[in-house]
């Protein structure tokens, strides 16, 4: 009996018991669709994080201050120290010392309240240099960015993020208007374009960018320390080289060894890694739960196939009497279980595809289904059918024709 004949017989047998076959497949359908959707949710979240991080700029290195230790010996954790200065940024910008660095943007940031007429808004005030726009790959929606001369003289100008602009100015163009930043006046000269990754309300779109010197004047500090130094490497390939150069430079400049480094350098990749590690844990956890339901579905297939063997014992006996060899009978039941598994998997994938279309609207989470996940799901469902079909098939193959024919 050829495989085509066996397959046809299997499909006929499945269709002869429609309700039972459908119920058997439900387990697989639920299992496969939940696994595919969970993985899709995980991948969607991962992609979102990646988008947000890549929106920071390209070939970006982020230098953060290390931990501080106060007089009582209490260590403050990463970022608490003010070990990075404008001088460090200037040193990194030196082409002779760090040839693989394209541009450097030191940033000092603080929470500040803005007032425009009747409305006020609290946002992060970013004091930086003109290269910030390039390093962070930001476009302007309207107006212009500040210039080097404005930076030098600490001009009272500000560039608003798009969300900030819409909070302060309900209608009309903000460009040219005056606002008050922590008591100081400044003129809005431009509005940034959205980074586009605002799915979770990215803070990248809610900022007020001023020249570094202006920020110092506004916050009334004379300190030259900065909270972050953004560095853009020349190309993706020189990212590692730039990393080494910055590290060597800062270690020498601060007079510390690598083990006592009072700063840390992260790349976009390392940020993505950190963010994804959390996501991955969740995905694995949820996927595991879904996987268990898939296993239960597989056991359901085995259960029904065993019932089917018992119920069709006379049919098996007759087929054997008419010349079906044990292997032909075994194969028939195995193929039947496999078809059940695969059909359940296919329906499960369809349910997942529909779910992937409707879920984002309901729970505000992106779902990204990959061809790999779908193929793996179908493969798994087939493997489940085969795996859980082996035992019932063996039972059917082993029946002796007389016992099978006799039973009533």
């Amino acid at each position: 009996m050829s495989w085509a004949e066996t397959l046809r017989a299997a499909v006929e047998a499945i269709r002869a018991h429609r309700l039972r076959s459908a119920l058997t497949m439900v387990g697989i359908v639920i299992g496969i669709s939940s696994v595919v959707l969970t993985v899709g949710l995980g991948q969607g979240a991962q992609r979102e994080v990646e988008d947000q991080i890549s929106a920071l700029g390209s070939n970006l290195l982020i230098v953060s201050p290390g931990s501080s230790t106060d007089s009582a010996g209490v260590r403050g954790g990463f970022g608490s120290a003010s070990t990075l200065t404008v001088g460090d940024a200037a040193a990194i910008a030196d082409e002779d010392v760090a040839p693989d660095v394209e541009a450097v943007a030191p940033v000092s940031s603080s929470q500040t309240s803005l007032i425009a007429g009747e409305s006020n808004w609290t946002t992060s005030l970013i004091g930086t240099t003109t290269s910030w726009q390039d390093v962070r790959a930001r476009e302007l929606a309207s107006g212009r960015f500040f210039t080097d001369s404005e930076l030098e003289r600490g001009a009272e100008v500000v560039v608003l993020g798009p969300d900030t602009a819409s909070e302060l100015f309900e209608r009309g163009s903000p460009v040219g208007q005056d606002i008050t930043i922590a008591g100081s006046r400044a003129t809005v000269i431009g509005v940034l374009a959205s980074t586009g990754s605002s799915a979770s309300g990215s803070s990248e779109d809610d900022v007020a960018v001023v020249p570094l010197s202006t920020a110092q004047a506004i916050t009334g500090t004379t300190s030259t320390s900065v909270s972050t130094i953004y560095v853009e490497a020349r190309t993706g390939d020189t990212l590692a080289a730039a990393y080494q150069e910055i590290q060597a430079l800062l270690l020498t400049g601060h007079g510390v060894s690598a083990t006592d480094a009072d700063f840390s350098i992260s790349t976009q990749e390392s940020l993505v890694e950190t963010a994804n590690a959390t996501n991955r844990t969740l995905t694995v956890l949820l996927g595991g739960v879904a996987g268990i339901s898939l296993l239960v579905g597989g056991i359901g297939v085995m259960n029904i196939m065993l019932v089917s063997v018992t119920e069709r014992i006379r049919e098996i006996g007759l087929r054997k009497a008419l010349g079906a060899t044990p292997s032909v009978i075994g194969r028939q039941f195995l193929v039947e279980a496999s078809v059940l598994g695969l059909a359940g998997g296919a329906i499960g994938v369809m349910v997942a595809v529909v779910g992937a279309q409707t879920l984002p609207a309901l729970i505000d989470q992106p779902v990204s289904l990959s061809a790999v996940a779908v193929t793996a799901a179908l493969g798994t469902s087939l493997a489940l059918g085969v795996g859980f079909g082996v035992y019932p098939a063996t039972r059917a193959a082993r029946l002796t024709p007389i016992d099978a024919l006799r039973s009533d």
């Binding site: 004949e5 054997k320 008419l322 010349g323 032909v328 024709p401 007389i402 024919l405």
Partner: protein, 253 residues
Amino acid sequence: MSAAARRGRSAQRTRGANTAPVIELEGVRKVYRSGEIEFEALRGVDVAIDEGEYVAVVGPSGSGKSTLMNILGCLDVATSGRYLLAGEDVSAMSERELALVRNRRIGFVFQQFHLLPSKSAWRNVELPLVYAGVPRTERRDRAVAALERVGLGERIDNRPGEMSGGQQQRVAVARALVTEPALILADEPTGNLDSASTADVFGLLDDLHAHGRTVVVITHDHEVADRAPRNLVVRDGLVTEDRRFVAVGGVRR
């Protein structure tokens, strides 16, 4: 005259020359074991049945005739002894080989018909051909021809549930003869039928015999046995009598 009938005639003509028996049992014993208890269902049976014979195996229930039928049908193997079917020794065959022998050499007719309820008449009849590896189109042609032979040419697409018992048994006969087997083995073929259908089915078996087929009927019913030219009486696991009658014009005297 149908093609099958012509083939039957030629088989009948050559019967005398072909002396090799279809069935040859030598000292066949069958012992059943159930825990400590042993039961000898057959205690040394020697039987030879020639090609084209029509034999009834008779005996009361518990005599061993069902065991004999299982062994003749290659559904079971003897504990000891030898069984040659169409010259082939089947006594030591594996399950797989036995299945192939059943497929090629034997056509079964069972008391309970044993038709698959979800399949139409012709799909039931083609089943042995499926296992013989016959291509689909040829299977249908042969199944339809076999159904015409048993007078059911009009009902090829009917399911067993849509037919009377007699018609169902005729479908089963068609299934038994569709592979042109060396032996047609009928186990109480009329046990579940009314007298009109019984006459129908025996008419068919007589016809098959008349066309040169070897037919063995297992029965406990003497009226059934009386129709066969040769009776093997089984009692207590042995063939106690081998009666032959001279048939004249199809009626025994």
